[in-house]
């Protein structure tokens, strides 16, 4: 008879930039209610099911790899979440945004309605909606999520963002965009560029596409 290893893993957490903001804001916004797990930094192509030493060594390239410290920027961590799916899942949920890249003219409008493929038996719009994050909010005079009307989502969507080069996140089943008409943002350039990250709030599926706003005059 041997002793079971009942040790637990202990890790120290750091507050994210958003966490510090909400902690300073007070009012109960900083209330941890749920967790998620991620495998950022893991490259599964290093997993080797043909390892001649046997199955115990398939993951040897991953199990002992050194990991980087946590990044405080919430947009730079927890990128690739682990998800709970039925055993036997052959296809992972992936997002179909309808665009592989967005190129939009100054002052023009666009709606993005994502769909999740391979999720709970088919292709569908997730019940909890999607999180849309634009890396530079100045590119759009309108950046709003619609379709989810819970109080917490509405509060999140109505949060104003100071007009500097910062990201903005909204939630909905559809994202409505209207490109900026401000010429001075372009300087001597004819284009402004940013990235749009969309994440399924139920599935954890994530997609990032480039966004380009072209100057009209």
């Amino acid at each position: 008879m041997g002793y079971l290893n009942n040790s637990i893993v202990t890790v120290d957490a750091i507050l994210t930039t958003k966490g510090r903001q909400l902690l300073a804001q007070g009012g109960g916004a900083f209330t941890i209610t749920q967790f998620a797990l991620a495998d950022d930094e893991i490259d599964y192509t290093l997993y080797n099911p043909n390892q001649p030493s046997g199955s115990a060594y398939y993951g040897e390239a991953l199990q002992n790899m050194p990991l980087l410290e946590a990044f405080p920027q919430e947009t730079q961590t927890m990128k690739y979440k682990l998800v709970t799916l039925p055993r036997g899942t052959a296809k992972m949920p992936i997002l179909d945004l309808g665009y592989s890249a967005i190129v939009i003219k100054q002052g023009a409008s666009l709606a993005v309605t994502p769909q999740t493929l391979n999720y709970t038996g088919g292709n569908q719009v997730e019940a909890s909606g999607y999180t849309f994050t634009i890396s530079d909010v100045r590119l759009f005079s309108t950046f709003e999520g619609v379709g989810i009307n819970t109080p917490s989502v509405q509060a999140l969507n109505y949060t104003s963002t100071i007009g500097t080069n910062v990201s903005k996140t909204v939630v909905g089943t559809t994202l409505n965009l209207k490109a900026t008409t401000v010429n001075t943002l372009f300087g001597s350039n004819t284009q402004l560029q940013a990235t749009l990250t969309v994440e399924g709030r139920d599935s954890g599926a994530r997609a990032t596409i480039p966004v380009t706003v072209t100057k009209v005059s």
């Binding site: 916004a29 941890i32 749920q34 930094e41 893991i42 682990l82 296809k91 999140l156």
Partner: protein, 341 residues
């Protein structure tokens, strides 16, 4: 699903008292002491002297100041206003802070004193409080050397002032260890002039009793001179600095103390949970097939990061594991995440 709700039992709040070495660089004992000629010559030099741990004078460790009820030991602000001087200001400042009564006297042990030296530790160094029993201060005078500590190890009832706990300074052989001789009482006080001062751990301050320290060896003193000249610079801040720094090297040992409140969150992914990944390297092609056929029924994923969220799915805190943790349908994990405030 990629989020799992935490249960009330998953949260534990713990408050731990942490003690640490006091001085910059995690050093418990200062042996060399430096002042800044610039600060000494400035207006603030009339009130106090900053003491540094290096000649570069970059890290203030503590400040020393002389206080006198009658304003002696420094020049008057205005000759027309008797008794109003920097030393009187310092006296009133500590009287207000510690005694809370402008008429109350400082009584060191059993002796009322009209003056004292104050050693005020830099807040960064003492954090929340000085750890009682850790003090060991060596002072040099014209007649010899005395070592002081506080009497926290010898009192059964802690005395309180308007500035929190008060401990008397006593003659010592080591931190927290009393020593007595013919010049001291059995309490470790000077035989005729009361205790050698006070330790006020909650405000990071030490008061030294000049009457006890200036006495003869037989009276428990070290001949540490103090100037009580009226309307004249007494250089008493420099005097106590020299007493602390000694002729070559001296010893000033202290520990800091703080209460760290930790929030422990127990994260429990069950065997059937979190076994697939949205990592782009977990799938092959554009249709989402998992990268290896073995992963369909026996997926192997590696946890590297734990994220803590609020109801809006906003990431509040993040923790990284020291190495990837394998997770599959045969494994459960218990991860304790520690959040310090």
């Amino acid at each position: 699903m990629s989020y799992k709700r935490l249960e009330p039992d998953d949260f534990v709040i713990s408050a731990d008292s942490i003690t640490a070495a006091m001085w910059v660089g995690g050093v418990p004992t200062l042996t060399y002491f430096f002042t800044s000629s610039t600060q000494e010559a400035s207006t603030s030099g009339n009130y106090y002297l900053n003491i540094y741990s290096s000649s570069a004078a970059t890290d203030i460790q503590f400040a020393v100041a002389y206080a006198n009820l009658n304003g002696s030991g420094s020049e008057l602000y205005n000759n027309a206003v008797t008794g109003s001087s920097p030393t009187a200001t310092i006296y009133g400042q500590y009287q207000n802070l510690i005694l809370g009564d402008e008429n109350a006297p400082f009584i060191f042990g059993n002796t009322t004193s009209s003056d004292f030296w104050a050693i005020s530790i830099e807040r960064n160094q003492y954090k929340e409080a000085i750890f009682p029993g850790s003090l060991f201060l060596e002072l040099s005078g014209s007649l010899g050397v005395i070592n002081l500590t506080d009497d926290s190890n010898y009192v059964s009832t802690v005395a309180y002032s308007e500035a929190g706990r008060v401990f008397n300074l006593i003659s010592a052989s080591a931190a927290g260890v009393k020593v007595t001789n013919s010049g001291t009482t059995t309490d470790g006080w000077s035989v005729n002039s009361g205790s050698y001062g006070w330790l006020l751990p909650d405000i990071g301050t030490i008061l030294l009793n000049p009457v006890a320290l200036s006495g003869s060896i037989a009276a428990g003193g070290i001949g540490l001179a103090v100037s009580r000249s009226f309307d004249a610079p007494g250089n008493n801040n420099v005097r106590i600095y020299k007493a602390i720094s000694g002729s070559t090297a001296s010893t000033f040992t202290l520990n800091s103390q703080e209460t760290v409140t930790s929030d422990y969150v127990f994260v429990r992914p069950r065997s059937s949970e979190f076994n697939y990944s949205e990592n782009p390297s977990f799938i092959s092609g554009s249709t989402g097939e998992v990268i290896y056929s073995d992963f369909i029924n026996n997926p192997q994923v590696y946890i590297t990061t734990v994220g803590l969220y609020n109801d809006n799915n906003e990431l509040l805190a993040v923790a990284k594991l020291s190495r990837p943790l394998l997770k599959d349908f045969t494994k459960e994990a218990l991860i304790r995440v520690k959040l310090d405030f």
